[in-house]
């Protein structure tokens, strides 16, 4: 039996259903490891007091002879922006510090029905704004590979928890790379599904046309198991798609023979980190040896993606955050009139990054500026979508690095918002285009993990899983573990 701290979901699930490992034993092992190491990592904002009771319930269901799905009895971490009844949903912000959600998010409801155990809520950048988890109002998360480095963000708590062996899987949210980039920086797998694949009901909104709920795990197979459980049409999210469900994971071929991979020439340019480039190109060679064909593709508007992305993000976030008015939930600082209450509540309880973005969004949407900013950005988004449509006529998947650098030092970029934004350069396009993207560990630079990003056609997560599962069957990057003192 593998050490319990690094068991995969697939393996733990098999042992659980064979009655060789109880959910209580597994959950207790996770809790013990968190108690010992999370004071130095700070992946969790809250640990559930009912986790062991949920584990006992899964054990009881199994004992009663019930046929249980793959996630039954498996402890998971959930990003603090996804509602889990009974646990605080802080969104990493003082304004929601004590917020108790009234209901479960759809993704959580589906995991609950499958018998998963909710171990706790993970740390994140405030309202999913950032790239390092340093924007959390409750202190940063540290990278388990090097505690002086950031774990990436905004789902840094979820990624660090999986990498540190605290939980075998977690949910995060991805607006511009917030699942994939921390997965890359922490050496785990992270998936941003196709927009509309996973319901956003119960996900606190950041930028609604870009937000996705996505899973993180140590293997591609585990990531696929989580995705399979949470995806599918939900009438409570009007943008949820009625596209047919993904076919069973067991039907995904184990080879990559004949799959066509595209390398976007605009991404592999001079100035790109040479070591990261080498790791990614090694991974491409590995897939080639497995029978994949590789060619160059062009995404002509790549250069404008980041600017378009951030304008859309600022506008949508500033609109979404207007619901925090000091009246309905969260922090409230009453003033002499309504305006003073709004200004005081929001001035006191939002951190610097939400404030910057609320102002940038208010500016871009204000009278006389709309056409030059928001409208322009949406037009460029259309051009970027067309670039991908064109590229996917020739190839089945596009390969890039997930992040332009490995994990950087805490504090290094925190006072320079623009530099922080530039760290999302490879991940934001998938959100603009609405396509799926996945990060898979593909090497190490300075003893820090590197991520390979695979992007696919809309609703074709299965091809990403196929490539990723094949890659992990012939490499062992995903088997390396950080050492926690």
């Amino acid at each position: 039996m593998t050490d319990m701290a690094h068991m995969t979901i697939a393996e733990a699930g098999r042992l659980f259903r064979a009655k060789r490992l109880s959910s209580r034993e597994l959950t207790q092992a996770c809790l013990d490891r968190i108690a010992m190491h999370d004071p130095s990592v700070h992946a969790f904002l809250e640990i559930s007091e009912t986790a062991l009771a949920e584990a006992d319930a899964a054990d009881a269901r199994l004992a009663s002879g019930e046929e249980l799905p793959p996630l039954a009895g498996i402890p998971l971490g959930i990003k603090s922006i996804i509602l889990v009844k009974g646990l605080k949903a802080t969104a990493g912000s003082r304004i929601l510090e004590d917020y108790q959600p009234p209901y479960d998010a759809t993704a959580v409801e589906r995991l609950r029905r499958a018998g998963a155990v909710f171990l706790g809520m993970t740390n994140m950048d405030e309202f999913a704004m950032g790239s390092s988890t340093e924007n959390s109002a409750f202190g940063p998360t540290k990278n388990p590979w090097n505690l002086e480095r950031v774990p990436g963000g905004t789902s840094g708590g979820s990624a660090a928890a999986v990498a540190a062996g605290f939980v075998p899987g977690a949910l995060g949210s991805d607006t511009g790379g917030s699942v994939r980039q921390p997965a890359a920086l922490c050496g785990v797998v992270g998936l941003k599904p196709t927009y509309g694949r996973v319901s956003r009901y119960g996900l606190i909104a950041a930028a609604s046309s870009l937000d996705n709920v996505g899973p993180l795990a140590r293997t591609v197979e585990d990531t696929a198991l989580l995705f399979q459980t949470i995806h599918g049409r939900d009438p409570r999210d009007a943008t949820s798609s009625s596209e047919a469900a993904m076919s069973p994971i067991s039907s995904i071929p184990s080879d990559v023979n004949g799959l066509r991979l595209g390398i976007p020439k605009e991404y592999f340019v001079e100035g790109m980190d040479a070591d990261i480039r080498a790791s990614v190109m090694d991974a491409v060679e590995t897939l080639k040896r497995g029978g994949a064909e590789v060619c160059e593709v062009s995404l002509p508007h790549a250069e404008y993606a980041l600017a378009a992305f951030y304008i859309i993000v600022f506008c949508e976030e500033s609109s979404n955050l207007s619901r925090f008015d000091g009246m309905r939930y969260g922090h409230s600082a009453p003033g002499k009139d309504l305006l003073e209450t709004y200004m005081r509540t929001r001035g006191e309880a939002f951190g610097p990054e939400p404030k910057r973005r609320i102002m940038l969004g208010s500016y871009a949407l204000s009278k006389g500026y709309y056409d030059a900013y928001y409208k322009k950005a949406l037009q460029v988004r259309q051009l970027i979508r067309r670039d991908f449509e064109e590229a996917f006529k020739d190839v089945d998947a596009i390969v890039t690095p997930t992040s332009p650098s490995v994990a950087w030092k805490l504090g290094e970029k925190v006072d320079d918002p623009l530099t922080m934004y530039l760290s999302d350069i490879y991940t934001i396009s998938a959100n603009l285009a609405g396509i799926p993207g996945m990060s898979v560990p593909c090497g190490f630079v300075q003893n820090l993990p590197v991520g390979l990003q695979l992007m696919g056609r809309p609703f074709d997560e299965a091809t990403l899983f196929r490539l990723g599962m094949h890659y992990q069957s012939v490499t062992d990057w995903h088997l390396r573990r950080p050492t926690l003192a």
């Binding site: 917020y99 108790q100 009234p102 209901y103 927009y195 509309g196 046309s209 870009l210 943008t239 949820s240 798609s241 009625s242 508007h301 250069e303 404008y304 600017a307 378009a308 951030y310 500033s318 000091g326 009246m327 309905r328 939930y329 922090h331 409230s332 009453p334 009139d337 309504l338 200004m343 929001r346 001035g347 006191e348 610097p352 404030k355 910057r356 102002m359 940038l360 969004g361 208010s362 500016y363 204000s366 030059a372 900013y373 409208k375 322009k376 949406l378 037009q379 460029v380 988004r381 259309q382 051009l383 979508r385 918002p417 623009l418 934004y421 285009a433 609405g434 396509i435 809309p458 609703f459």
Partner: protein
């Protein structure tokens, strides 16, 4: 590019944010550098290009009947409890219009 103090104060008010003097000074430079970066979009010729306003690339059935769905008692209680100010089941909010008859 730097914004003026007045510009920062104006957009902070639009965004309903009370800022300290220090914050105004800091955001002047930070917001300016971001606006300078995103200005590069103006280079792109977008004449006649429709806006991609939605996240979804597939057709979505967004229209449905506008039906009120009753929540369960637990959800109901939790929604009420989230309100910062209330008396029993009565939710307290601030007046939207001032009563000028007494002035």
């Amino acid at each position: 590019m730097q914004l003026t103090t007045e510009e920062v104060r104006r957009i902070a008010t639009l965004g309903r944010l009370e800022l300290t003097e220090d914050e105004v000074e800091r955001y002047r430079t930070q917001l300016g550098s971001v606006l300078e970066y995103v200005a590069k979009l103006q280079e792109v010729d977008t004449k006649g290009i429709e806006e991609a306003a939605y996240g979804s690339v597939a057709e979505i059935a967004a229209l449905r009947l506008d039906e009120a769905v009753r929540s369960d008692a637990d959800t109901h209680t939790r929604l009420l409890e989230a309100f910062p100010s209330r008396q029993g089941n009565l939710l307290e909010v601030q007046a939207v219009f001032a009563d000028r008859s007494v002035e």
